[in-house]
């Protein structure tokens, strides 16, 4: 299971705790993980990425394993530690967003 840590406002919106567990078929990528997140929690659709273009919102960042993955190509494999569930993917609101 892949662990995703959500920021406060999205936890409230989705009605979940700090961390959600998701299962992605095949090689996990950012795109597949976000697809699964939105499928499991439809109220999050449109909050992380544009619902039409799937482009990441400018003030949303993705961190994992002490690296900023925000600008990695969405079809690139996630780090092995994230795919294996040892490390979570952190969804973070950028400092400038509020």
């Amino acid at each position: 299971m892949i662990r995703v840590v959500l920021p406060h406002h999205l936890r409230v919106l989705a009605g979940v705790g700090k961390e959600v567990l998701l299962c992605v078929d095949g090689q996990p990528t950012q795109r597949l993980l976000l697809d699964e997140l939105e499928r499991a929690y439809p109220t999050l659709r449109g909050t992380l990425r544009d619902p039409s273009t799937h482009r990441r919102r400018a003030f949303v960042r993705f961190f994992a394993c002490e690296e900023d993955l925000s600008n990695q190509p969405p079809d690139e494999p996630l780090p092995e530690a994230v795919a294996a569930g040892r490390e979570p993917l952190h969804v973070v609101g950028a400092i400038a967003g509020g």
Partner: protein
């Protein structure tokens, strides 16, 4: 016993103020959607328990919330606002072409007859419609694709459809106001739109009396007289007696004709309220003294209403969506400030009292009267 519910949208959440028909003592509930900007909360005239709210943030975009129980519980509904067809460009702040980009919902206008039917005025300026309680939205695209669209430009707050007036006798007849494009009207439910800005003059335009480009801050009317419109423009308070065909200035003896909201009395179609603000860059009341001005003659002659409002050292603003009027007799008048106060008058503006203080910056105020 009659109850009054005031829906207050603020920069950091929504609040619901409740009172009885006397409108003296207020219960403040909230924040709803804490931490999110709530540009507008709107109630369905057809079902007072059906409420809609627009919440957004710079981080996570737009969410539309719906309540079916008068605000006790809420559920997120649809948040997909997709412009129909090619988006084209409007003018950017520097005058260069800029593609239309959806930012947020500024205004929700619930149908008078169907609780599931609601219009949304959005930034970048466009009109959307939902007929399923907000679950899905489709654009009324003829407005945005009007041939003048490339000449529209953002005001200081963005480029948005912020006012939607639907004729209560004929819902196919609508007026919308856009900053900074002006007023547009339709008589066919939104299939075609015409600019309705004849008589407006804006010195910031290269052609001051152009057909579009005016920064209209708010328009209002009494439901019994759909062709009589009142406008608070960037500068100037205006009036039209022919449904927006022509406008004339009725600023008269106001201390400043700059301001944002304008509202019409519930039972007196020629009684109008504005809140004068010093200037386009000094967004606070003249002399640091907060006063509503009321005209009982449809404009030109105005009287200050300040009993109960701050008389010194007041430097707040009142935004365009932040004034509302209930339909009790005498009607109540409500407005919220950028300093987080909500003021209420239970006697048509003669006397004022604080209904809530210390809220976040107030973006919008709506009111419901409940049986």
């Amino acid at each position: 016993m009659t109850k009054v519910r005031v829906l207050v949208g603020t920069q950091k959440g929504g609040f619901v103020l409740s009172s009885d028909g006397r409108r003296r003592d207020w219960d403040v509930a909230g924040p709803l959607f804490g931490g999110w900007e709530v540009y507008h909360m709107a109630a369905s005239p057809a079902d007072p328990d059906r409420l809609y709210a627009s919440q957004s943030t710079g981080w996570f975009g737009q969410v539309v919330q719906r309540s079916d129980d008068g605000g006790s519980t809420w559920q997120p509904v649809g948040n997909e606002f997709v412009y129909e067809g090619g988006t084209g460009t409007h003018q950017w702040y520097d005058g260069s072409p800029h593609p239309w980009e959806f930012a947020r919902v500024w205004h929700l206008e619930a149908s008078a007859s169907d609780p599931d039917s609601v219009l949304a005025g959005v930034e970048d300026a466009a009109l959307f419609r939902s007929s399923d309680g907000g679950a899905t939205w489709s654009e009324v695209s003829a407005l945005r694709t009007h041939e003048s669209g490339p000449r529209w430009q953002p005001g200081a707050g963005g480029m948005a459809v912020h006012t939607v007036l639907v004729d209560p006798a004929d819902p196919d007849r609508m007026h919308v106001a856009i900053s900074a494009a002006g007023v547009f009207r339709t008589a066919d439910g939104g299939s075609t739109w015409q600019p309705a800005n004849n008589g407006l003059r804006s010195e910031f335009l290269p052609e001051p009396e152009a057909d579009v480009g005016h920064c209209v801050h708010r328009i209002a009317r009494h439901p019994s007289r759909p062709d009589v419109l009142f406008m608070q423009k960037h500068w100037d308070v205006m009036r039209s007696d022919d449904g927006g065909g022509t406008w004339r200035e009725v600023s008269g003896d106001l201390p400043s004709d700059f301001g944002f909201p304008i509202a019409v009395h519930a039972h007196e179609p020629d009684t109008v309220y504005v809140v004068p603000i010093t200037s386009d860059s000094e967004h606070y009341p003249p002399e640091g003294r907060l006063r509503v001005y009321r005209s009982r003659s449809g404009g030109v002659e105005w009287e200050p209403l300040g009993d109960g409002l701050p008389t010194v050292d007041c430097y707040v603003n009142v935004l365009r969506e932040a004034m509302a009027i209930d339909d009790l007799d005498p009607c109540g008048v409500y407005f919220g400030t950028t300093g987080g106060q909500v003021y209420a008058s239970a006697d048509s503006g003669d006397h004022w009292a604080t209904a809530a203080a210390h809220l976040p910056r107030v973006l919008s105020v709506e009111v419901q009267t409940l049986p």
